[in-house]
């Protein structure tokens, strides 16, 4: 017998026009729903995310079709991916049926759903449908029974799950009933290619034909209207993420990671700085709320959330959406709360993992800008003091700027003011210049440069804070002022290359300063030294040691530098035991986002949390390569009672102790 089936069997061709009419209505409702939302997105400021379309479309394909970011978290990620592909196949199947039934057959007399192709079609769809159904049940078990901590379940979820389940289930029942009437007895071989349908249909086989026809018709229409309902409610429920989350890949920020908008301080017309209301954010910021499916992957990785601060990146994103849709005049900062806003360390763990391509960090920065620039509010008195100190003396400690180069006295390093003929300018940073513990990093870096015969110079008292902590705390004005001073000096000496031992200075000088007119080669010392080793300008005499390595946020997630430091440490004789959270899943030390100058008053200490993770590896040494991390770890070791069990060292100290060979 022919491997095919009659489309519109039993329901008749008469269903076509009501089908189209209702589909049209459903789609119109859907489009209208999105149109209403578009109006709300438009409240936000303009932003061009439509350039380089080819790259953007590529991202959509990769992330939506291949579900790459969803699969970053394997368990639920896998379940969702399979569900998505299953549903996807069913959708394609429906399109094929529509193509044949409404276009090819009536217009050209072509029938392609027959023979081997039909058998394949049937089998694939049955399997897809079953996979989708099973995966859906898996997701339901997770959400309604396992109830992972932090996962919010709202009425929306019940509706969507009920709808999806019923659609899939009734789909199979409709098929089963049809097969009970047409295939199971009459064409058993064919029915093997619709195994699920066959199983579902078996109980119906004994039924009287009239009853079968009626049941089939009723179920068909039921399934149809459910599907129409599904389409119509998309924009009004979480289902909207099918479009919004997918579209968010199109709207990806293609600028380098961590790029922040540079406020034009010359613009005399500007009256509002930072974000107080949704209208101060961009349309993308509002759209992000719609792309968010509340998967809580960001919240799960937020170091502030993990230690009891009131900050949840997911909640913040949703609050912006709520304000945009229900009360646009509402004050965002009151809704999110200052405590939550100041708690962020800008570690980027949220953005790095988000499968919906949401940009959490810059929203927080914009609100901080409003607090700082429009209200003159600080995260605490100590932050205000640090800010004044940077204004007056160019460092957050308030120590005399003239003493900035004193750490280098007696060392073989040039001061640019006296002799600017150098290979690299070493931008030391505030901590390595003034803090006793961190001066060791600076001294050891010079030792390394000397050994590799790299002629290195420093700005000494002409160097000012790179401005990063102030910028991250929202004080764009002070950042630009201090940056301008640095840039003038650097340009004045005709510097070609800058190397820095601080990842924050590294990010700021290498990326942020571009907007302020400085574009030159800026490298972090980890990759610089790695280059020295591989080019044999520096030789190390390995001495064995056991260690664990901390990927600082501004080196790892921001700059994707993970391998070079590890390679160096291995060359130096180290045996690495990775922490559970390492690489791009590294857990912040707590000092980013300007919080190095702030007091941690809420919840438990982030640095102690991280130190305990290091201790758990059993390694006696915690190696990092950021002065903020080193400071946090020294502090955390004391506070967390790990003295004697764990020692904190910077990469530079390990390298410098092994020069030779």
């Amino acid at each position: 017998m022919e491997a095919t089936r009659e489309i519109y069997w039993n329901v008749g061709h008469g269903v076509v026009w009501p089908m189209y009419v209702f589909s049209f209505i459903a789609m119109a409702v859907c489009v209208y729903g999105f149109y209403r939302r578009l109006v709300v997105y438009r409240q936000g400021k303009r932003l061009n995310r439509f350039d380089r379309l080819r790259v953007r479309v590529n991202l959509v394909f990769r992330n939506v079709l291949a579900q790459t970011r969803v699969l970053r978290v394997l368990g639920p990620g896998f379940i969702h991916a399979l569900f998505f592909w299953g549903f996807g196949f069913l959708f394609i199947g429906t399109l094929l049926v529509m193509a044949q039934a409404d276009i090819f057959q009536p217009l050209f007399g072509v029938v392609f759903l027959k023979g081997t192709f039909y058998k394949l079609f049937s089998l694939v769809l049955d399997v897809a449908g079953l996979v989708a159904l099973v995966m859906l049940v898996g997701l339901q078990v997770r959400r309604f029974f396992a109830k992972p901590e932090g996962l919010e379940t709202i009425r929306d979820d019940y509706v969507v799950h009920a709808l999806l389940f019923t659609i899939l289930a009734t789909g199979f029942v409709v098929e089963g009933v049809r097969m009970a009437a047409t295939e199971i007895r009459n064409n058993p071989n064919l029915s093997l290619y619709s195994p699920v349908g066959m199983l579902v249909g078996k109980p119906f086989v004994g039924m009287k034909l009239d009853a079968l026809f009626l049941t089939h018709k009723a179920l068909w229409w039921f399934h149809f209207f459910l599907a129409m309902g599904f389409i119509a409610v998309i924009p009004f429920t979480k289902l909207r993420h099918i479009f919004t989350t997918s579209a968010n890949y199109l709207f990806t920020d293609l600028a380098p990671k961590g790029t922040i908008s540079t406020i034009n301080l010359e613009d005399e017309g500007a009256a509002q700085f930072g974000a107080a209301k949704v209208a101060d954010l961009t349309w993308k910021d509002i759209f992000d709320a719609d792309a968010c499916t509340s998967c809580k992957r960001c919240q799960d990785r937020c170091p502030a959330f993990a230690t009891g601060k009131p900050l949840s990146p997911m909640k913040m994103v949703k609050q912006i959406g709520e304000a945009a849709f229900s009360n646009p005049q509402a004050g965002l900062i009151e809704a999110v709360s200052q405590d939550a806003l100041w708690a962020c360390t800008t570690c980027r763990a949220c953005q790095e993992i988000c499968p919906a391509n949401i940009e959490h960090v810059n929203k927080i920065l914009e609100m901080r800008r409003n607090l700082s620039l429009m209200e003159g509010v600080f995260a605490g008195d100590e932050v205000r003091t640090a800010t004044s100190n940077v204004e007056v003396n160019g460092n957050p400690f308030g120590l005399a700027f003239a003493a900035r180069g004193e750490w280098a006295v007696g060392l073989d390093v040039k001061v640019m003011e006296q002799d600017s003929d150098v290979d690299i300018l070493y931008f030391v940073g505030c901590y390595a210049s003034f803090d006793k513990r961190n001066r060791e990093i600076a001294r050891n870096f010079i030792k390394i440069c000397n050994a590799a015969r790299v002629r290195v110079g420093i700005l000494s008292k002409e160097e000012k804070c790179c401005g990063e902590p102030m910028r991250k705390l929202g004080n764009e004005y002070l950042y630009q002022m201090t940056a301008a001073e640095n840039i003038e000096r650097i340009k004045g000496y005709g510097v070609k290359k800058i190397v820095t031992t601080c990842p924050h200075c590294f990010n700021t000088l290498g990326r942020d300063y571009k907007d302020l007119g400085l574009e030159l080669d800026v490298e972090h010392y980890s990759t610089f030294v790695h280059g020295l080793i591989t080019s044999k300008r520096l030789k190390l005499k390995p001495e064995p040691f056991e260690f664990t390595y901390h990927d600082s946020c501004y080196l790892g997630r921001y700059m994707d530098i993970f391998d070079a430091p590890r390679a160096i440490l291995t060359t130096a004789g180290g045996r690495l035991t990775e922490m559970a959270k390492s690489g791009s899943e590294s857990f912040c030390c707590g000092a980013g986002g300007g919080r190095i100058v702030a007091e941690e008053k809420i919840g438990t200490r982030i640095n102690v949390e991280r130190v305990k993770m290091a201790e758990a590896t059993g390694a006696p040494l915690l190696v990092s390569n950021c002065p903020f991390c080193l400071t946090m770890f020294e502090d955390g070791i004391k506070t967390g009672d790990c003295e004697g069990k764990l020692k904190a060292l910077d990469l530079a100290e390990i390298i410098a102790a092994r020069i030779g060979g």
Partner: protein
């Protein structure tokens, strides 16, 4: 109501001071400058009074010194003062408190200020004389060391900080000079819109010769670092001996232990 705020730009006290070539004041290179901390409270109080009075009062901020003091004046403008007066004087440090006060009094004489705010002392010279002397020269009433300020119906109710945490409350009538102590209020951090507005506010410069009519009553003969008697003293050895030695040192050097 016309308000005058007198401010001074001083070096940041964290700096390491070096004696200048003439040996009578500090060398300016390698010093970071900022508004005298006491004057910040004065500026803040003046601006608060202006705001509380429906923004009607006009606040002039004045400073005497070289070109760099313009930065301090700009900050005062960004905090909310309406106009600035820079009395240009590269050799401000050669004038004693008496001359400084007379310059301010000469400037203010015919301008009918109702209230003059200034810090109770400068962080560098620290003579705590200028404010009170200006009041005496202008015939204004004066109260110093304010940690509390309230104004109503031409009368100021001021709280003065005395020793040991004690405070005294006094009332004085305008016109008046008040000198401000740390903690009088919380000086606001200038917001960016205010910093930008400040760029447009009036800044007049007068050469000091316009107002200097008095000769000095005193002069700094020598400016120097106090002799550190043998640097830091290191005590080692027997605990009880060290206790005795320390008590001796404290009595001698510190007058805290009597």
């Amino acid at each position: 109501m016309k308000i005058l705020v007198c401010i001074k730009q001083v070096p940041d006290m964290e700096s390491r001071f070096k004696v200048n070539n003439s040996g009578v004041w500090y060398e300016e290179t390698d010093l970071a400058f900022r508004m005298n901390e006491y004057d910040e409270y004065a500026v803040e109080q003046a601006v608060q009074l202006k705001e509380q009075s429906g923004n009607a009062p006009d606040v002039t901020v004045l400073s005497i010194g070289p070109g760099r003091v313009v930065e301090a004046l700009k900050k005062a403008l960004a905090m909310g003062c309406d106009r600035a007066v820079h009395i240009q004087d590269d050799e401000y440090y050669l004038k004693d408190s008496w001359q400084i006060a007379s310059i301010i009094a000469a400037y203010a004489k015919d301008l009918n200020f109702d209230l003059i705010f200034t810090g109770m002392q400068s962080q560098d010279r620290g003579s705590a004389q200028v404010g009170v002397t200006v009041a005496e020269l202008l015939g204004f009433s004066c109260a110093t060391t304010l940690v509390g300020f309230a104004y109503g119906g031409n009368v100021i109710t001021a709280k003065r900080e005395l020793e040991g945490g004690l405070k005294s409350v006094i009332k004085l009538r305008l016109p008046a000079v008040v000198t401000c102590q740390l903690g009088l209020n919380t000086p606001r951090y200038p917001t960016l819109p205010n910093i930008m507005k400040a760029k447009k506010k009036e800044m007049l410069t007068h050469p000091v010769a316009d107002f200097l009519k008095e000769g000095a009553h005193s002069a700094t003969e020598r400016f120097y670092l106090p002799a550190k008697k043998g640097g830091g003293i290191l005590l080692e050895g027997d605990v009880n001996d060290m206790v005795d030695r320390l008590v001796e040192i404290l009595k001698e050097k510190n007058a805290v232990v009597r």
